[in-house]
Chain length 321, copies 2
């Protein structure tokens, strides 16, 4: 279990249950399917999405079995997108473990992701409302559109803040928002409260992705270095770089104009971005989204869970990994 | 529209409506998502699965809008699996058109497939029974397991008829069976009739895949040659080859023992298989499954649609492409 939840023993316990449900649900007589999925489950991600789903559901009629199952579905959906992401990034490692695409090949990774997707819908069809199945389908659609959009606009020299926000809104914020919303809806919270919780998720998701993109430039090279090299070589320009380009640095413009980016270019881009205001401006935008989340959190009914959501949001803003 | 349905104007018309529904459902403001999907829809596959779904539904209370929508979902699910298959096979062409993976890259193809999957579940959540959502999820699971299994056992020297049948039962027959079953179920057919229709679909699917695998060896090289080379190089051993290996040809065993298969090996394998009883035995098995389908068709209540299902099954057995 990830150390992230050490200060919150109850959530930690609940997430361990969610883990067990996931492990139970990927059990099959075909061990070569079960094992890599179990490894991924046990590799210890932060499990933010299921945690937020559970926290959100406690603003209504929390149902232990139902909500933990739903939390498992959300994390499994997230895992499915990770498996497919790794194919594209050709990532060798995920959470310190060898990725499915690297260990078993891209073929297996494509179908393992599909397998998880359909398993999720199977779990949903057992016990949940049509409305939530619809909401979940819509969110996955948004994630896909975000990813397709990101790929479509790669190496696009006309960078745009608006387009970047649209991309991360799809590929990251949508699932955070949905985790909050369906947790609340399945607990019979009214429309207004569910929407408020969804907005909190959306803003946390936006801040989360921006901070991820900042950490690519600022964190220890061993931790994050590979990711940024990969992004740049694929032509994905994230926020710190976009701000630096918009500042109008000639050297940067020359590199960006190229059709492909090599190792030397990557080093130069990172240096230029670090010496620009790109990182500072990105931080300010992350703080803006976090503040929007705080403002919505303040409007929630008083409870211990409200306090926890607040603290977690703060913790995510300050994280260094 | 594929010429396959020229003798059945009513089905042809209905399938054209299904095509329109699909085109309507992939419409989006992001033209770079809509266009490749529309191209794939218009590329004129046989649309066997939606046709069987519609034919099956007419044994109960056929509902024009509901069943055509459901038929569109089934064909879109099939398309999603094709898009993901093409990534793995690195196929350049599909139905004579450039594949999404070849034109837009593997990244786009992964997410385009995922996009279609989630779109299907969104369509299902609008109007269909939880039971059918469950059935569909189960069938996709089976397809994924079939594909993962096929990949897991590639280059496996201990070929087995049983394993081959298990693989094609998942990757092909499951979706045929499901098309018949949910067509019937959504038309309120009773359990017994729905199951009977499902069995027809299963047997047609098994025969269909075996014939596909035979045609790889016997059809005009330009049409099918690439596919068999691809399969062999990936270590996928299909029925005609499995029978030939089981006959105990020493030359064949020597080639199969290798860890990779080159162009010269492929030519030799094809020759050995053609000179063995592999193709004849495979044909006999295809006829066996077709006969099982016929037997179940005969048990259906008399109607024009029963006759059509019979004729189509016959036509599929005799097809040359």
């Amino acid at each position: 279990m990830n150390m992230f939840w050490d200060d919150y023993p109850q959530i930690k316990n609940e997430l361990q249950d969610v883990n067990k449900i996931m492990i139970e649900n990927v059990k099959t007589t075909e061990k070569y399917i079960e094992e890599p999925l179990t490894d991924l489950i046990l590799s210890g991600g932060k499990m933010l999405r299921p945690a937020f789903l559970l926290l959100s559901s406690k603003f209504g009629n929390y149902n232990d079995k139902k909500h933990k199952n739903l939390a498992a579905v959300i994390e499994m959906l997230h895992m499915a997108t990770l498996i497919h992401d790794d194919i594209i990034d050709e990532s060798k490692l995920r959470r310190g473990n060898v990725t499915i695409q690297s260990k078993y090949g891209k073929d297996q990774a494509v179908y393992m992701g599909d397998y998880l997707f359909s398993k999720c819908f199977l779990m949903l069809s057992e016990d949940y409302s049509m409305e939530n199945i619809k909401k979940i389908s819509q969110s996955i659609l948004k994630i896909c559109i975000g990813e397709i959009r990101q790929h479509h606009f790669r190496f696009n020299k006309n960078v745009s803040l608006k387009r970047y926000l649209k991309i991360i809104s799809g590929k990251t914020a949508a699932l955070f928002a949905m985790s909050f919303t369906i947790g609340a809806k399945e607990a019979d919270c009214d429309e207004k409260l569910s929407k408020k919780l969804g907005r909190i998720g959306y803003n946390i998701g936006m801040a989360f992705q921006i901070i991820d993109d900042i950490l690519d430039y600022t964190a220890n090279e061993n931790i994050m270095g590979k990711s940024i090299k990969n992004d740049l070589k694929q032509g994905f320009f994230t926020l710190p770089l976009i701000y630096a380009i918009l500042e109008g640095n000639n050297n940067l413009e020359d590199i960006i104009k190229k059709d492909s980016i090599d190792n030397q270019d990557v080093i130069e881009i990172i240096n230029i971005v670090k010496n620009s205001d790109g990182i500072e401006k990105s931080k300010r935008l992350a703080i803006k989204y976090t503040n929007r989340a705080f403002k919505n959190i303040e409007l929630l009914p008083e409870s211990e869970n409200k306090k926890i959501i607040y603290e977690i949001t703060e913790k995510l803003l300050k994280r260094k990994y």
